[in-house]
Every structure is written in structure tokens, then in C-alpha cells.
């Protein structure tokens, strides 16, 4: 609507002053629309939402809490501890007579928390680190990225196991261990993106206007690389859950009375030859379904935010 005549514009503006401003469609709105058209991703999102809901609402339907022991089942889980509504053990019990249903709820909470919190920390640290490194450039960039290279060269799982052995096994330690290393990839990806964004003219326009370096990073660079970050973060969550599960499977991660998917799967796998397959299958089902959901959502986000689509 280019009108060369300024008086006419002023007049039109006068006429329209009563009207509300036209809503624009932001790139985010566009991406949301594309995401909503991706069936696998939307279904995954719904399932994941249900799993999260289950982990919070589940305890209200539980007959047995995760701390109670059903003495009548203890020792004969294979014959008396199978899933049933009558006994109130919806998912059965483990060898000690603890309710798997409640244990799975507890494990879901902890596994998701580790995954989401770990990814969140990695995203914040990695994004800021990468954006600063890429935007400042030059020697700062060199030094910051060499630090990342050095940290990456350290065998991560080995160090994590050593840390858990030396400093004791706790969720806090696990967080620190996973969080310390997960941001490395993130910072590299973000730095690469920043390098391509920082030479765009709108960054120069902001600099010419007098916006400070930090504001440019937070106001212009970070929102523009958030697409990539969002995709990577959704793929990071299952990675985190996997790592935590692996560590817990080894017996080094989450400790009793807490539990996680990995710990439950480990226990279930250990007793599978006594015909108590439900001890493995229920936590495993939650684990697998959640991971699939995260990967599908990540895929959907990538398709939705891919700028080449436009």
C-alpha cells in the first residue's frame, strides 16, 4: 500500500485512526501453524503432555504409595505381585513388594526433571556462551572455542562415573556432571548461527543506532537463533534422559529410595528370569514412548522453523 502523496496518507491515517492496528503474522506464528500441520509431532506433543499429567495426577489414583511395602507380596512377586486392580497394584510390584505404578510415577518425575532441567541449563549456558563468542569474535572467540574443544576432548562418561564415585552418588552431582558437558555442543551450534547472523544488515543497523553489544545479543541475535536452539533443545532432552538412565542402569545415578526410568529398567531387567516381566515392561514402555515423542517433536520443530521452507 504505497501511496506517494503524503497528504493522502495523513488523511487515510486520520480515517483509520479509529480502527485497530492490523495484526501481523510473525515468523513464530508461521512456524506454529506449520508445526500444527505435522501430525506425528502434534500427536507426540499430546502423548507427552499426558505422560507429564500422569506423573502429577497419578498419585491421586494410587492405592499404594511409593514408600509402602506390601508385606503379603514380598518374596513371592512372581505369583502374587502381578498387575491387577484387585490388589491395587496396577502395574504389579517388585520383589520387595513395592508398587510399580507409584514407582513409575516417581521415576517419570525424576527422569523428566533431569532431562528438562539439564537441557534448560545447557540451553541457557550454551546459548549465551556461543552467542558472546560468535558476536565478539577475534581472539575472544578463539580462546572461548578452544576451551570448548578441550572440554569436548575429555571422555565425558568416564569423568561422570569418576565424579559420582569420588563425590558420592546424588542427583545434584548427576545434574552438575551432565549439565557441565551438555552445553558444549549447544555453544558450538549457537556460535555458528551467530556468525551468520551478525553480518546481516539489521545488526549493523542496530550498531549504527547505538545499541550496546549486550543488548544486540539479547535483543537481536538470540531471538533469531532461537529456532535452532529450540530444535536442538528438544533433541537434547531425550539425550539427557538416556544418559541419566544409563548412569542409573549402572547403579551410579539416582539412589534409593528415589528412582528413575533407568533404575527401574535396571531392576526389572535383573529379575526378568523369575517371570516378573511387568517389572521391566512398564517403565520401559514409558521410557520408549517418551523418547519417541521428544524426537518426533524435535523433528516437527525443525521442519516448522527451517527457514529454507519459506
Amino acid at each position: 500500500m504505497i501511496v506517494a502523496n503524503k497528504n493522502k496518507i495523513a488523511e487515510m491515517a486520520e480515517n483509520m485512526s479509529g480502527m485497530d492496528a492490523v495484526d501481523g503474522r510473525s515468523l513464530w506464528a508461521d512456524a506454529r501453524r506449520r508445526f500444527m500441520h505435522n501430525k506425528a509431532a502434534v500427536v507426540s506433543l499430546v502423548i507427552l503432555a499426558l505422560i507429564v499429567l500422569f506423573s502429577f495426577a497419578g498419585p491421586y489414583f494410587a492405592v499404594w504409595s511409593n514408600e509402602e511395602i506390601d508385606w503379603s507380596v514380598m518374596g513371592s512377586a512372581a505369583t502374587k505381585g502381578m498387575p491387577s486392580f484387585e490388589t491395587g497394584h496396577f502395574f504389579g510390584t517388585d520383589d520387595l513388594g513395592r508398587d510399580i505404578y507409584s514407582r513409575v510415577i516417581q521415576g517419570t518425575q525424576i527422569s523428566l526433571m533431569v532431562g528438562v532441567l539439564g537441557a534448560f541449563v545447557a540451553v541457557i549456558v550454551g546459548t549465551l556462551y556461543g552467542a558472546i563468542s560468535g558476536y565478539v569474535g577475534g581472539r575472544t572467540d578463539q580462546i572461548m572455542m578452544r576451551i570448548v574443544d578441550i572440554l569436548m576432548a575429555i571422555p565425558f562418561m568416564f569423568v561422570l562415573i569418576l565424579m559420582l564415585v569420588v563425590f558420592g552418588r546424588s542427583i545434584g552431582m548427576l545434574f552438575i556432571g551432565i549439565g557441565l558437558l551438555a552445553w558444549l555442543d549447544m555453544s558450538r551450534i549457537v556460535r555458528g548461527q551467530t556468525l551468520s547472523i551478525k553480518n546481516k544488515e539489521f545488526i549493523e543497523a542496530a550498531r549504527a543506532t547505538g545499541v550496546s553489544g549486550f543488548k544486540i545479543i539479547t535483543r537481536h541475535i538470540v531471538p533469531n537463533l532461537l529456532g535452532v536452539v529450540a530444535v536442538y533443545a528438544t533433541l537434547l532432552v531425550p539425550g539427557m534422559i538416556l544418559t541419566e538412565s544409563f548412569i542409573s542402569f549402572l547403579g551410579l545415578g539416582v539412589q534409593e529410595p528415589n528412582t528413575s526410568w533407568g533404575a527401574l529398567i535396571s531392576e526389572g531387567a535383573g529379575t526378568i528370569r523369575y517371570d516378573t516381566e511387568w517389572q521391566l515392561l512398564f517403565p520401559l514402555a514409558f521410557f520408549v514412548v517418551s523418547l519417541f515423542c521428544f524426537y518426533f517433536i524435535g523433528d516437527g520443530l525443525r521442519d516448522a522453523l527451517d527457514p529454507k521452507d519459506r
Partner: protein, 328 residues
């Protein structure tokens, strides 16, 4: 129009370090002389056109005077203050007096911001305490001024055409009422009819608000239309600086003469009989510019002295400055 000098640039040099492909870490990098000793003055409310072929340092010069690019040496006096002596924070504060318009209209707008936010950014940067309602009013005013309907504030840059995007860029530059706007090829990415609209808009706004313009372009007819004075750059050196009418009527430097003869005239009869001055060869490398006069490798009037001595940038009368041994 007042005639006070707002900007005085003295012997500005911008060199870039170029590392050779097989260079060792300790070898000194080559110096690319992007701008090599440019001096000029800018008066309030005037338009200085800068022309020259690609890679002659037009954009570098414009960015260097406002310290968007570090310069090797030289002074820039802006409203009586030496910009080169300011620290980063003071410099940022002064940026509100000089704004910029860019070549690619869409790329110069942040795709994640709506245009209301884009236009308001300079205010939020320099006057962060301005109440929201006032910002909104200012944005509306400036949008009307550049010919955009104010109810489009919530739209995003990708929803606009190139010409509209350039108007948004102009609105952003205008909102702080700067004393100087640097236009870096503001119309070369637009098609001809839109070019005319944007150039005329700039001209109108200049008359209304009285800011000075530094207008970079490679289209001579547009520069002629908008400029009061024109500077011709060649390989980072000024070859001619004159009043725009004067420069077109009587170009003194052989390079300017060739440039002007190349401007097409929209009349086939005149165009056919026009005498075209062709320049042979390519632009020499700015890493090792020719000795003496930089233009000598391609100049039709070249003599021995051109190799030996660099011509002074002298006044050939009436403020018409030229750098040539044989200006007539």
C-alpha cells in the same frame, strides 16, 4: 538552510589487514587501502553524494566517518567534537545524531520484530524512560511522514514490499530527528519507479526536517538529482569534489568525464551521437595501488609525471576540487 559546518573529515585513512594465503603467523599482513586520505566538509542541511565503481571505498568511507569501522588515521570533527577521541560509551551516545539507511531494505530489519518495535528501537535505546504511549505516538507520526499507514505497526518485515521496507528503514532513521543520515545505496536494491519514490521522499523529508545527507550510489542520475555536492572516489582516493551542477557541466578529472559520458540518455538520437569515453583495463588492486596518481593505469591522458608524483587535490576554482596534474 544554515551553512554551518557539522562534519569535518581530515585525511581519513582506512586500511584493512589482508593475510596472504601462504602467510606464516608472524608475517606482517598486507594492508588493503580501502580509503586513503579523504578529507571533506559537510554543512548542515546539504547532501553530499559519493559515487564511484564497486570496491572504491564508498561504503567504507561512510562507515568509517561514524566509526562503524576502525580507521587507521585521520580526524573526524562532528559538531566540534573529535569522534575518534571518544570512548565506546560516549560514541554510542552520539550515535543518536547520525543515523543510517541501508542497501538491502529487508535485510536491514530484524525479521523477529514487528515494525513498531523496529521503528521505536532508537528511542528505546537512547531515551529508555519514554512512556509507552508517547513512543506509540512518535512511531505513528514518523510512519505517516514516510508514507506508511500507522495501523500496520504490528506487521512483520516479511509482509512488506522492498519499497515499504525501505520506508520503514527511513522511519527508523528519522525518529530521533538526526542531524545527518548516511544513506548507503538506499535505492540500488529497488526497481526504478520505487527508486524515484524513495529518493523524492528523502528529498522532501530533508527539506522538512533540515538534516544533512551523505548519499552513496553508483547511479549518477540519482545522485545528481538529490545531491548538492558530489564526491567522486577512485580506489579509496578522492578524484573530484564539486557542486553537483558544476560537476555535471564541467567534469575536470578524466575519470569523472568517463563516468558521466557513460550515463545513458533516454533519447535514442542524442544517445546515438553521444561521445562515449571508454576506460580500458580493470580496477587495480587496492593492496598495491599504482605509484603516483592512482588512476594512471587507465587514464587516457597519462604522462610521465603521473607515475612519479601523486597529484594534489587542488581547487580548480569555485570550490571545484580535483586531483589531476592536467585538469583544465
Amino acid at each position: 538552510m544554515s551553512h554551518e559546518t557539522i562534519m569535518k573529515v581530515d585525511d581519513l585513512k582506512v586500511y584493512f589487514n589482508v593475510t596472504k594465503r601462504d602467510a606464516m603467523p608472524w608475517t606482517k599482513p598486507d594492508k588493503l587501502k580501502a580509503v586513503d586520505g579523504v578529507s571533506f566538509e559537510l554543512k548542515a542541511g546539504e547532501t553530499l553524494g559519493i559515487v564511484g565503481e564497486s570496491g572504491c571505498g564508498k561504503s567504507t568511507l561512510a562507515r568509517a566517518v561514524i566509526r562503524m569501522i576502525p580507521s587507521e588515521s585521520g580526524d573526524v570533527m562532528w559538531l566540534g567534537q573529535d569522534l575518534m577521541a571518544l570512548d565506546a560509551k560516549e560514541m554510542r551516545a552520539r550515535r543518536k545524531e547520525v543515523q543510517m539507511i541501508f542497501q538491502d531494505p529487508l535485510a536491514s530489519l530484524d525479521p523477529r520484530m514487528n515494525i513498531g518495535e523496529i521503528i521505536a528501537e532508537p528511542i528505546k535505546t537512547h531515551y529508555p524512560k519514554t512512556p509507552k504511549a508517547e513512543i506509540k505516538k512518535m512511531v505513528e507520526e514518523v510512519m505517516i511522514k514516510v508514507g506508511l499507514l500507522p495501523n500496520l505497526v504490528n506487521r512483520y518485515p516479511h509482509e512488506f514490499s522492498g519499497g515499504q521496507c525501505q520506508r520503514i528503514g527511513i522511519a527508523r532513521a528519522l525518529i530521533l530527528k538526526p542531524k545527518l543520515i548516511i544513506c548507503d545505496e538506499p535505492v540500488s536494491a529497488l526497481d526504478v519507479s520505487i527508486q524515484a519514490q524513495v529518493v523524492n521522499l528523502l528529498k522532501e523529508l530533508q527539506e522538512e526536517m533540515g538534516m544533512a545527507l551523505i548519499f552513496i550510489a553508483h547511479d549518477l542520475s540519482i545522485v545528481k538529482h538529490i545531491s548538492t555536492r558530489i564526491m567522486v572516489l577512485y580506489l579509496g582516493n578522492m578524484v573530484e569534489l564539486a557542486d553537483s551542477v558544476d560537476l555535471y557541466k564541467q567534469p575536470r578529472h578524466p575519470y569523472t568525464q568517463a563516468l558521466i559520458s557513460a550515463v545513458p540518455i533516454p533519447d535514442p538520437l542524442i544517445e546515438k551521437n553521444k561521445e562515449l569515453i571508454l576506460i580500458e583495463g580493470d580496477l587495480p588492486s587496492p593492496i598495491s595501488p599504482p605509484s603516483g596518481c592512482v588512476f594512471r593505469t587507465r587514464c587516457p591522458r597519462v604522462q610521465d609525471i603521473c607515475t612519479r608524483e601523486k597529484p594534489e587535490f587542488v581547487d580548480a576554482g569555485n570550490g571545484h576540487k580535483v586531483a589531476c596534474h592536467f585538469h583544465d
